[in-house]
């Protein structure tokens, strides 16, 4: 029996407008409960929604970046369900006439289809207290796009890759900050098991997924569970399950409502959404170079490996950081090395994001120029860089303060060399007997005595002279 998983993903993403989708309330994260609400988003009687122009633009840009067709005519519907996070008892969403349809993204050569992209409003947030539930409606009316994939995904790993790519695209286009902790990117999963050559099995929806890794883990568990069920001769039921991150299992939330239970009907308070061709054309120019295109260009223009180019383009800010460095220091490979090893190493170690780090492109390139000019050695550069990372100080200042300037004058170096030689008669003897390797250990000691500040080439040259070489 050949069984395969069929996975489809729904991604909800908050669009980066200043005001809500149908009213002028602010969308800022972290405000006190119910301080960013008004009669419209609270669903008080007699109010009318008015659609936000910027939200439409951002949604169109998203659609274009996902290679969707932007529909000239689309419409809002009411999705009815009764739950206290929804004060109107319906969510304004789109149903059979979404804004965009028929897109796709590429995952290392495999095409994953995007069925549709539609607009909707977010719901409020519930907090469960003793004997009652408390509601904060600040999120109610936050503009969202929902991106629905075709059931083209076949494994948890592929689902992870798909989400990473969608996030990269949305961040690059700057339609959203895609911050999962703040809830601006969320994901639901649909998964079923198909016997080879047969139709789709009953599908299960998984909610409560807070990270891409969580999606991957939940899918691993759920696929395994469904296969067990089928192999034991039972049937998988259509239902909604929740993922328990701690126990790493999914469990039944409720038997899923059918679409008809949402009693969708056209939103009478809003007119159809008409998007003119000219508007789509002009927004096309606002779709920036995307991660995959940038990666190709970095490989071609800067001679970077695919691996490095992928790291540098993994976020837009990283790519901008890299290219800003190149403006004042035109050695891509060197800049790449410092970013991918030193900078990323420190970011990972200190659990920081590039945006909150004190390292600025000017500081890195200034230091690289100091290395090139021989003011400091590359090795000392690593210490200087760590100090820039910690304090955001100017590298010149750090070098002065810590006395890290390279020792390049002959007299000072001879002093050290002579000291080292007098302490190591054996090494001299070895050298004279032809063991040229002895030089290495002597240089090591010179470096140690100068705390790495000796100019390596010069120190080497002078040492050889002392050892009687004719250079």
């Amino acid at each position: 029996m050949n069984l395969e998983a069929v996975i489809g993903l729904e991604v909800h993403c908050q669009l980066a407008s200043c005001s809500k989708i149908f009213c002028s309330c602010p969308t800022k994260f972290g405000a006190l409960p119910n301080t960013q609400v008004c009669p419209v988003c609270l669903g008080l009687p007699g109010v009318l929604p008015v659609f936000n122009k910027r939200v439409l633009e951002l949604a169109i840009i998203s659609g274009l970046a996902l290679s969707c067709k932007i529909n000239n005519h689309s419409r809002f519907h009411r999705k009815n369900y009764f739950y206290p996070d929804l004060p109107k008892a319906y969510q304004i969403s789109q149903y059979d006439e979404p804004l965009a349809t028929g897109g796709s993204i590429n995952l290392d050569g495999k095409k994953i289809g995007i069925t549709r992209l539609h607009l909707e409003e977010d719901a409020g947030k519930l907090m469960h207290a003793e004997g009652a539930s408390l509601v904060d409606f600040n999120r109610c009316g936050i503009p969202l796009i929902e991106i629905v994939s075709e059931p083209d995904i076949r494994s948890p790993e592929e689902a992870y890759a798909y989400l990473t790519e969608i996030k990269a695209i949305l961040q690059y286009t700057e339609v959203s900050n895609c911050n999962m902790e703040e809830g601006s990117l969320r994901c639901d999963v649909n998964v079923s098991i198909r016997r080879e050559g047969e139709g789709l099995g009953e599908k299960v929806e998984i909610k409560n997924l807070n990270s891409f890794r969580g999606v991957e883990k939940a899918l691993h568990y759920e696929i395994e569970r469904q296969i067990e069920v089928i192999k034991s001769g039972r049937k998988v039921f259509q239902e909604t399950r929740l993922f328990d991150e701690k126990k790493q299992v999914t469990f039944t939330m409720r038997a899923k409502e059918e679409a008809k239970d949402y009693r969708y009907f056209p939103e009478p308070d809003l007119l159809p959404l008409i998007v003119e061709k000219e508007q789509i054309e002009s927004l096309k120019s606002q779709v920036p170079e995307l991660a995959s295109q940038k990666k190709e260009r970095f490989m071609k223009d800067y001679g970077l490996s695919e691996y490095d180019a992928k790291i540098l383009t993994s976020t837009k800010e990283m790519a901008i950081f890299f290219e800003t460095c190149l403006r004042s220091y035109d050695k891509p490979k060197i800049v790449n090395n410092w970013i991918t090893t030193e900078l990323l190493g420190l970011l990972a170690e200190k659990k920081k994001k590039l945006a909150d780090s004190l390292v600025k492109p000017e500081l890195l390139t200034k230091m690289l120029l100091l290395i090139d000019d021989g003011v400091i050695s590359g090795k000392i550069g690593k210490d200087v860089f760590a100090e820039i990372f910690a304090s955001g100080k100017d590298p010149e200042e750090i070098i002065k303060e810590k006395g890290l300037v390279q020792i390049k004058d002959t007299d000072s170096l001879y002093l050290v060399i002579d000291e080292v030689l007098s302490e190591n008669p054996q090494a001299i003897k070895d050298y004279q007997e032809g063991k040229k390797k002895a030089v290495g250990s002597l240089i090591g000691q010179i470096m140690k005595k100068t705390m790495g500040r000796a100019n390596p080439e010069l120190a080497n040259q002078l040492l050889l002279k002392r050892l009687g070489e004719d250079i």
Binding site: V37, R75, P84, G131
Partner: protein
């Protein structure tokens, strides 16, 4: 003649989170049946080639500029709620 079963009434009540007595279920199914039959009249027309009318205006949605205006203070809005606690609206316990 449209029919509406007691099961359908119970399903609708569940979707609306209403608890109905047996008597109410009977009354409602009778009343909803009458409403449906009244509306059923429209189905006598052949509308095969007619596009559904959702709005009578031959216009697209007018758009608003993305400007913030936060002029309502939460206390005055919370006053409309049957119950509140601090800055929160308070509702019967869910889950």
């Amino acid at each position: 003649m449209a029919e509406i079963t007691k099961k359908e009434i119970e399903h609708l009540a569940l979707l609306s989170r209403l608890s109905l007595s047996e008597e109410e279920k009977n009354t409602l199914s009778q009343q909803i049946k009458e409403i449906l039959n009244y509306v059923e009249k429209v189905n006598e027309l052949n509308t095969e080639n007619v596009t559904p009318t959702f709005n009578v205006l031959p216009l697209g949605e007018r758009l608003r500029e993305d400007k913030v205006d936060n002029k309502f203070d939460s206390q005055s809005l919370l006053r409309n709620a049957p119950e509140s606690e601090g800055n929160f609206f308070k509702v019967p316990k869910i889950v």
